[in-house]
Structures are given as C-alpha cells and as structure tokens.
C-alpha cells in the first residue's frame, strides 16, 4: 500500500514504515523558539533535568513578537533567552532578523523531508518546502530541547487539489481563505493538508508559504507541498543538499480529497470573528476601516508588498485610515527598500515598521480600540486578536488591503483604477 508524503517523512525519521494513526517517538531535525514561548520552554527544559540541549546546531532562537522590547517584562524575558543561547551555544538571531517563520525558511532551517517543530502555531508554514512542520507548546518544546525528539500521532492527510488560473488581483491568500471557509475552523484537526494540483505546481514559494501558514486555521497539524523544481531552486541558495523525490503515492490513503478551481475565485475577506468566515469581497465592500495592516508571516514578503504597491500606484491612502506596513524580515525589508516601495508607502501616508509581528501580536503596538475595524493581511481575526474585544478584524490579501486603504472602506482590488 502506498504512503502519503507525511507517512514517508515519519517513516524516514523513525527508521521503519509507519502509518497514519500510529503514535511514535520521532527524532526532530530542527526546533525554533521565540520571545513569547521561549522563556517557558527553557523553564521546562530545566525542570526536566535538562543540562545541555540535544544539538545546538538544530535549534534557533529569535525575537519577533515584542521587538524592540515594549515593556520591562519583555526585556527581562529576552535577556533570559540571550543568556540561555550564549550558555548553550544556540544561534540567536535576536531582534534583528524578523518574523520567526520567515527567518527559519530564509536561513535554510527547514528542508524537504525534515521534521521541524516550533513553539508557535504557524510553524506549519515550513511545509512550503516539503518539510513536516508543526507548532507545539512550551512543555513539549522543553522536551525537544532536552531530547531532540517528541511524541507524535502520525496524522492522516487531506489532499487539496487546486486547479485553474487565478484572475487578476486574486492569489494565494484568497485561495487559502476560501479553503478555510470550505474545510472549517476545525475541519482538519489532527490532520495534515497536502496542497497539490496544477495551480500549486505553478505557485511560487511565497504563495505556497501563505497557504501552508494558514493550515492551522483549519486545525491542521501541518500544511505541506511536495517538493518540486521550484522548491529545490529555493533550497539551493539556502542549504547544501542534493535533490531527491518526495511525494504522496497515488495509492496512498487520504482521509479526504477536496478539489478547488480558482479560475472564478473572487478576492476573499474573512469576516469577524473566525478565519473560516471567508466571503467574496463584494459582500462586505463599503465597510469603513480604521486601520489596515499589510505584513505578517502570512503576507509580509516582497511579493506581497509589491502587489500592494502595484495597487497603490501614485495614489495616497485615505487620511482617516492608519496604514501599517511591515516587511516580514530584514531580507524582505531590503528588497522592498531597494525597489523603492518604502518611499512609495511612506509618501502615500503609511507607517513602515521594522520587521516583527506587529499588530497581529495584539500586544506590542498597533492595537485597535472598542468599535474600531482593522483590515489585515495576517492570519487571525479572533475577537481581541488586535486589541479590544469590542473591535473587529477582517482578513484579506495584500491587494485588497491596499485597495481598501486607498478608499477607507473594504474595496474590491479589481475596482481600483490603474
């Protein structure tokens, strides 16, 4: 009987053939901790009797949720982590590099066929490289830091086959919001989602990252795309490794097969207060927005900001809208800078911040007050996610965010004149 890509990865790491449903103790290839979940993970590591981490080369640390430190407590947490990194000789990217998930991929810390864990739910983004990557809590991470392994239930896989050509101003974010609306907030719990089909095969790495990033919003343990030439070209610059084939067998057992045709897909907006509440933009067009956030691990890459800039053109943002633009990492920031987009955003009235989680953290800065509306390219619109529980967060693509920031109300990006 054939295996899914996920079963193949677990079989490799376990050293024997395993199937979905089995509970296994599996070695992990990499681990990531950040400023929010790191302090507790380190505390648990010591409580578990940990003295030295399993392999400092396989662990990275960085700070992105509250950077630069926005409180004395945040500064203390970060100082404690710096000390741990120095003692354990773990590479600490500190506050310099950007949002954890983007940095892990940029630094080649996740690769096809690997099992990578991160103490953050959006760790599933690394599945864009063909890795099995999943978010875990701090106690599980303490265990990983000590042993380099963790208990997993090998997940079943939902196969999402995507076909068709996106129309103008419609892309990966609209697709994943539509898939979330279809599968539901808990429709993929305990399972992996494998994205495949002609549309995914043509999709570049940033779009695949956006899709895999949001697998967790359906409860999934992981999102994954089988590595192909696009993946290996991306990896070439990051890691010395030879190409190998990794894919789900045709006769593998999938828990479900779903198909999506994007040729008629419209720009999507997830309305408050759940990510699975996606609707075509036309249904919510005209709703006034107080703040627009373009950034995050979901949509803070150069391609995302370039799309927003293209919609913006020479226009200005509406004067009554607070527009916050945050590139996802230092590398992305430099690309955006060199392309002249930062000047374009600033001239149009935006605040461009240094790489970090920004308003999506719901704590550091960029919070909304009661009755206010935020339109955001990030991944969660839960009540209170970006500040007041009496505020509202809508999710959309960079194109829709830019179009709406120009008019001051939720706007179909296809209606903005070029």
């Amino acid at each position: 009987m054939g295996q899914t890509i996920v079963e193949k990865i677990f079989s490799k790491n376990c050293g024997r053939d395993v199937q979905a449903g089995e509970v296994v103790m599996t070695p992990v290839d990499g681990a990531m901790i950040h400023d929010i979940t790191g302090p507790l993970a380190i505390q648990k590591f010591y409580e578990m009797g940990g003295k030295t981490v399993f392999d400092p080369e396989r662990i990275i640390m960085l700070f992105d949720h509250q950077v630069p430190a926005d409180s004395i407590e945040a500064a203390q947490n970060q100082a404690g982590m710096r000390k741990f990194a120095a003692e354990q000789q773990i590479h600490n990217y500190d506050i310099n590099e950007g949002v954890c998930h983007q940095v892990v991929l940029e630094k080649g810390r996740a690769a096809p066929g690997e099992i990578v864990v991160g103490a953050d739910s959006h760790t599933c983004m690394y599945g864009a490289t063909g890795a099995f990557a999943t978010g875990i809590g701090s106690t599980d991470m303490g265990f990983v830091l000590k042993f380099g392994a963790l208990y997993f239930k090998v997940p079943e896989t939902i196969r999402a086959e995507v076909t068709g050509k996106f129309s103008d101003r419609v892309g990966a974010k609209d697709l994943i919001l539509a898939i979330a609306a279809d599968i539901g907030a808990d429709g993929a719990t305990y399972q992996a989602i494998e994205f495949c089909g002609k549309t995914i095969e043509k999709m570049k790495m940033p779009g695949r990252m956006t899709c895999c990033n949001m697998a967790i919003e359906m409860g999934a343990k992981a999102g994954i795309v089988a590595p192909d030439t696009i993946t290996w070209n991306y990896m070439k610059k990051k890691r010395k490794m030879s190409r190998f084939e990794l894919f789900s067998d045709e006769d593998a057992t999938f828990s479900e097969r779903r198909t999506y045709d994007v040729s008629r897909l419209e720009p999507q907006v997830a309305v408050p207060h759940n990510v699975d509440q996606g609707v075509p933009v036309g249904k919510v067009a005209g709703i006034h927005v107080d703040q627009v956030f373009i950034g995050s691990c979901t949509n803070g890459r150069f391609e995302d900001l370039a799309e927003a800039a293209e919609v913006l053109g020479k226009k200005s943002f509406a004067p009554d809208v607070r527009v916050i633009v945050i590139p996802a990492s230092r590398d992305e920031y430099i690309k955006v800078l060199q392309a002249g987009l930062i000047e374009q955003f600033v001239r149009a009235g935006a605040l461009v911040e240094a790489p970090c989680c920004g308003p999506c953290m719901g704590g550091a800065f960029g919070l909304i007050g009661p009755g206010e509306v935020s339109l955001s390219t990030s991944n969660r619109n839960f009540k209170g996610r970006q500040g007041s529980t009496e505020g509202k967060v809508y999710l959309c693509s960079p194109a829709t965010a830019a179009a709406s920031a120009i008019t001051g109300e939720i706007t179909d990006p296809r209606e903005v004149l070029r």
Binding site: I136, G137, S138, K146, A149, K383, G384
Partner: protein, 165 residues
C-alpha cells in the same frame, strides 16, 4: 464545583490576550483569564471550578499561557465537545485535564459538575453524561505525572544526534 460555560471555537486569544504573554506565572496569568471575553471569570472563579466549551476549544496560538492561566485560577478540568490539537496537548502537559464530552452543549452555566475519569462519565447537577477516554499515550504521560516528570525519569530517547553542519 461550578461550571463556566463558553461557546464554540474559544481561541487562546480569548483565554489569555496577547498583551499578557510576558507573564509566565500561572497565578498572575489567572488574573487576566478571559479578560475582555468574560471579565467575571477572573474575579469569581474558585479552585475546582470547571470550564466548559463547545467545539474546537483552545484553537489558535500555541501559547501554553492559556492552559496555565486556567491552572493558575484553580481550574483542573476543561470539558468540551472537541479540542484544538495544540491546546489539548498543552493542557495535559501542564496538568489541566481536557475532557471530551459529546453532550458538552447540554451543560449549563453555573451547574455543579463532577468528573469521574475511571467510570468515563460526568455528573451535571446529578445528570450523567459519558465522556471519551483519554488517548492511551496521553494517559501514559498523565500516569507518569506529566511530561516534565516523564522527561525527568527518562535518560534517552532516539534523536537525530548527527550534527547538521
């Protein structure tokens, strides 16, 4: 012990908002549990109270601060129709028992709830409902006294020891 009833898709931002995540002490976290969602909870919760949710309880962020905030408030059991995966594991790891009960919707607010994990049932104001047994491997971790105790007593597990670079 009284029940605190919540609905479907209770996310970890609702259990403990992002702005309190610099706090790592369970008792301090408990002061902000459900802040902005149900402010009375932190004020009135007493040790032994039970939190009840619908479907997909604990969805969203991997923040262990969420189950810790409940533990800090003296809550030992969360009952729901279903749980989000990371929350379920985090809860077990920090000593909060996640109980899956198909009939969780029928548990009202402020009911007297008694959980019997041996008989796999709960009593709600005297009325019995079945609950699902905890998955075997999780039960093993619970029996060992939690993951920290398990790890303390474990010398070695198979790991990728070959250095990457």
């Amino acid at each position: 012990m009284r029940s605190w009833k919540f609905g479907d898709d209770i996310d970890t931002d609702a259990i403990i908002p992002g702005r309190f995540l610099t706090i790592n002490d369970p008792k301090e976290l408990a002061k902000h549990a459900f802040e902005g969602t149900r402010d009375a909870f932190a004020r009135e919760v007493t040790a032994g109270d039970v939190v009840v949710g619908g479907r997909n309880f604990g969805c969203g962020s991997s923040r262990e601060h969420a189950p810790l905030a409940l533990v800090g408030a003296g809550v030992r059991v969360v009952i729901a129709r279903s749980f989000a995966r990371i929350f379920f594991r985090n809860a077990v790891n920090v000593g909060l028992l996640p109980v899956v009960c198909e009939n969780a919707d029928q548990i009202p607010d402020d009911a007297r709830v008694i959980v019997n994990t041996k008989k796999h049932e709960i009593k709600v104001d005297g009325k019995k409902f079945p609950i699902e047994p905890v998955p075997a491997f999780m039960q093993g971790i619970i029996d060992a006294g939690g993951l920290v105790a398990y790890a303390k007593n474990t010398k070695e597990v198979p790991a990728c020891t070959k250095s990457r670079r």
